[in-house]
């Protein structure tokens, strides 16, 4: 259940040729290019004598009859068409075909028919049709236009990607889903069909394990809180404030960034410091970076004394590593400084305190007072003379949305008044409408209220003894719901009533599970990935892999809500309407 190791196995398999050594060309398509760049660097490929990498769809490639070619594509219509054309008039001496998922029989026939020159020397399927972000985090499936139902292409994509994931992990799982989510149910039944009766079912004939792995399909709408909260751990913060896309961070918009730092890669596999620091909270991160810089300084100091031959020898040996280190130090310094700047510029300390209070405490009047103060840009009563810049609209909307979710059923709910306040602040009606969109998506009536765990708000978690570390950090009180759900799953205590077993699925054995694959329909967050990573660490013999169709931060989550179902709030209703 190590996604990176599995991905490396596949990459190795596809670049290792059965036919001796020589210079090779690698042809990719739009799907496989990002997936291979996530797990293999150019020098890795160079070691396998791949000296030219190009897109299959690029028709201006020159004919090179003495080179051999490795094709690695997803078997979808556009790529198959391009491959057919390539095989009809081959540019290279021979072709090894690798598909990232199952090829349809008819496509294979067509390919065979177009290969009348017999240039193809290998045809194989490697099941890599998903993106691997970390050892335990993947992205599978595409976004949907609606939030409560699948369209055919999106459902197909999710099914294909997840069945590739299961095949690559050699899992024939018990599939369970959340009772209230139609999408999760649909996906569960499609996947069950693919595993047990579809074309690929013969491949799922893996040796029985003592307890079947569990594929748990969750729905984002059951936990709208986690993506809305400002996270405080390194990886999540980078994603929240700057944005991570396929392990790459675009720093070009950061003020005063060096030229070579505009695009940086944050890959825990290649960056040891990042692996250690990605789950640290901001305070610990500061210490960690300081230690890292000290280490770097120590290195530069020792290299300054080049008195003897020995020193010189060491220097020559270590110079490339030294430079790598210096690059890495400045990368993480840049990131940390930018995070710090964002925290101050966006007044995250204040915002996060209120957010956590909203999420974890039951204190309507105090929360409302603080929320109003922030929305109206009033100064902090404790430090009235301190001049603060107004809070960003985004943050205000997010806070009101949190409030709306938290106190939806509260008698004194004042969402309407807060919306009106926002409107008077000059916020556009369509932006204010996002709050309603969030409510419509994940309001109390939409969420799964199970008997065991009472609420997504972690106050309830405290009852269950899960919030043991709550008081540890004021800003990290909230524990994502997924922890409670997966903990129950590991203990074999997940209620069948709330988490039914999918059709066509392996029979449920009421037992503690050891391998869990979590898939969140509607997107996962880095915060959840971190929590699950920790859960795996504390539960021996348990392996957890998690993913979603996207990795959300608060901005993408809100945008998505807005785009899926837009509301426009125009009429300024009587602010005191609901006060009674």
């Amino acid at each position: 259940m190590d996604l990176i190791a599995t991905a490396n196995f596949y990459v190795n398999k596809l670049v290792t040729s059965d036919r001796g050594t020589s210079i090779k060309v690698l042809l990719l398509d739009d799907h496989t290019a990002p997936s291979i760049s996530l797990c293999a660097t150019q020098s890795d490929l160079l070691k396998h004598e791949i000296y030219l990498i190009d897109k299959l769809a690029n028709t201006s490639r020159a004919a090179m009859r003495h080179l051999r070619c490795i094709v690695y594509i997803k078997p979808e219509p556009a790529s198959i068409t391009a491959l057919l054309a390539e095989l009809r008039s081959p540019r290279y001496a021979s072709y090894e075909l690798n598909f990232s998922n199952a090829v349809r029989k008819s496509d294979l026939e067509k390919l065979a028919e177009s290969d009348d020159l017999e240039v193809v020397t290998r045809v194989s399927e490697v099941f890599t049709d998903y993106l691997v972000l970390d050892r335990g985090l993947f992205v599978a499936g595409s976004g949907t236009a609606r939030a409560d139902a699948w369209e055919k292409p999106a459902l197909d994509a999710a099914t294909q990607n997840l069945s590739a994931l299961l095949l690559s992990l050699k899992c024939k799982p018990t599939i369970r889903y959340e009772r209230n989510s139609k999408m999760a149910a649909k996906l569960a039944s499609e996947l069950g069909y693919a595993v047990h009766e579809g074309d690929l079912s013969a491949l799922f004939d893996f040796p029985t394990r003592d307890v079947a792995p569990l594929l748990l399909i969750l729905d984002r709408k059951n936990d709208p809180i986690t993506p809305l909260l400002v996270p405080w751990t390194f990886q999540s913060m980078v994603h929240e404030f700057i944005g991570i896309r396929n392990n790459t961070v675009d720093l070009s918009r950061v003020p005063g960034v060096a030229k070579d730092m505009e695009q940086v890669v944050l890959n825990p596999e290649t960056d040891a410091f990042y692996r250690e620091a990605m789950h640290l909270n901001f305070g610990d991160l500061g210490d960690k970076i300081k230690a890292y810089v000290d280490q770097y300084k120590a290195k530069t100091n020792t290299t300054k004394k080049l008195d003897t031959l020995q020193d010189m020898k060491n220097f020559i040996d270590e110079f490339p590593e030294f430079r790598r280190l210096s690059g890495n130090v400045s990368k993480h310094m840049t990131l940390a400084l930018e995070l710090d700047r964002c925290i101050n510029a966006l007044r995250i300390w204040e915002v996060s305190e209120l957010e956590q209070s909203l999420a974890c405490n039951d204190n309507h009047s105090v929360d409302l007072q603080e929320l109003e103060r922030l929305v109206l840009n009033h100064p902090n009563p404790q430090t009235p003379q301190q001049v603060t810049q107004p809070l960003s609209v985004e943050a205000k909307i997010r806070l009101v949305a949190l409030y709306a979710l938290r106190y939806e059923k509260h008698a004194g709910n004042q969402v309407r008044r807060l919306e009106a306040l926002l409107l008077t602040q000059g916020v556009e009606g369509i932006t204010v409408g996002t709050i309603r969109a969030v409510l419509a998506y994940a309001g109390a009536s939409q969420r799964l209220e199970t008997t065991g765990e009472a609420s997504v708000f972690s106050k309830a978690n405290a009852f269950m003894g899960l919030g043991a570390k709550q008081s540890e950090n004021l800003y990290m009180q909230h524990v994502p719901r997924v922890e409670a759900v997966v903990t129950q799953a590991i203990r074999g205590k997940l209620a069948v009533r709330d988490y039914p077993v999918g059709k066509h699925s392996v029979e449920l054995v009421a037992d503690r599970v050891q391998d869990v694959i979590v898939y969140v329909v509607g997107g996962i967050t880095y915060e959840e990935a971190r929590v699950l990573h920790n859960l795996q660490g504390t539960n021996k013999g348990v392996r957890i892999v998690a993913g979603g169709n996207i990795v959300h931060n608060s901005r993408t989550f809100m945008q998505r809500r807005h785009r899926v179902k837009g509301y426009r709030v125009t009429i300024v209703e009587n602010p005191d309407e609901k006060r009674l």
Binding site: S43, T208, D260, I316
Partner: protein, 546 residues
Amino acid sequence: MKRRVLGPRTDVPDIVVPPTPKPQHEPELECPICGLKVLSMHQLNRHLDDEHANASEEVPGTLTGENVEDLTGWLRKKVVSQTSKLPIGLPSKLVKLDSLTSPEYPSLLATSPSPQPDTRGPKVTRKHWRNPSGNDFCHFPRCRKLLNVRNGSVNCRRCGELFCNEHTAFRMKLDSLAEYSPVDGTWCRCCESCFNSKPGYLDTDGATRDLFTQFQTSRQRIVDQQGLKTNQLENRLVKLVARFNEIDLKDEGRVFKFFASSSLGQKRAAEREVVAWASDASATHCHLCFKMFGVYVRKHHCRLCGKLVCGDEMTACSKEVPLGKLCERLGGVQARDPQYVIRVCLGCKDGLLKRRNFIREVEKSELPEYLQIYHDLTTYEKVIIILLKKFQASLVLVQGEPLDSTIIAANKSRGKLVESLQAYEKLAKSLKVAVPEGSDDTKIRHSILQHATWFFQENGGKFKRYWLEMAEVKPDLPAPKLTKKQIREAREELMVYREQMFLIGEMIDTAKKQRRFDEIPPLLDNLRDLEAMCGDIEAKLGEDGF
């Protein structure tokens, strides 16, 4: 939780027990934790040990002594309440005795019902268990904790070794011989290494499927068809050429060439003989580009298949091809009149020549320069790696016994190594040729260069390290009187150092450009050292220098 000590019990009441009547009702006990039905207290006891012994570890945080007390108290209460539910008719004494029933001393209660076979799986053997000696340490390599009441002392059910509680927090299903049996085994406590040794558990190789055979079968059908078609076309062409040759031969025999027109007519007739032409009325559209025939789009017959095609230059549906060219490609036939043209459609041209052309191009096309260089580079790489090993071995010898012979040998292999490294570098540099940017050729050249640089850095660095090591051991290694060879070597060495100086100079420049000033001082120091080295060598060379 205090663990039950295994082995014969000493506190068994020494009483003669009358044969007990079989209880009227099966005493049914229920496990207070998982609700499993068991038959006797003994079984319940064992079940609790096996299945729920590590229950405390499931709760986050450790249980304090008080909690343990609570738990056992609770268990006792449960058990008592269960016992009270037993059939009233059964004497309580017997119930107690029944709890002692165990296979280890069956003679005690010979007539009492022996424990029913565990419905949840076979009973796992305990023969291989290591007996606690009282002074054991956890078998887990990195733990080695003293095993006692607090740390626990648990046998891994599979390997039998003793572990502390923490390192047996794993479960796997075992059969009666304590081997992994995923389907109908019993859940047992085990250690981490046994847990990880489950077949396939740590596998990282995902599923794959090889479709080549299937692909090949489908392809073979097409290839065979294609082969037949090609054969047919070849035959027609050979026939046609033979007919033409006949006509031409006759023609050449004639004294007067006026009748050339008649031979042309004969050739036209021969064309129609070889393949039946489709009638003009049979097609309204070109069968290749589907253009409609008309005044501008004329109908033509392909001489090899007889079908109607257009003669559009743009689509190249059909073209007039000189016989000579066709024969040359085909091989084996010679046309007497190579200039004579016949019309051939695109389909027939491909059918006839596509495969031949492709094979010819793959086999006969010249290797581009960079490929040649690449092959040479890989050869050098192999040589360098071998030489490096040799050099290292000779250095070990020198360090062992610095005799003249070993030193000479070391110097010799060093010389060879320097030579090949230089040749390698030179070769790699020849890749840097001004070719239009962005073309595939350039990309490949660039990649090869990158690879070569990487290789050179790594192995050159290794070489330097070995060399410096040797220099430390025996600073007077280069013999005082300089032979010609040594002069050459010293010069080479000088060149290597100068090269190094140059590289460092470049590094300094780039560091300056990128404003990484912290990198500069060490580089400068390094440069100074290199200068000193160069100075030394130059001094040593004296007049023999450049």
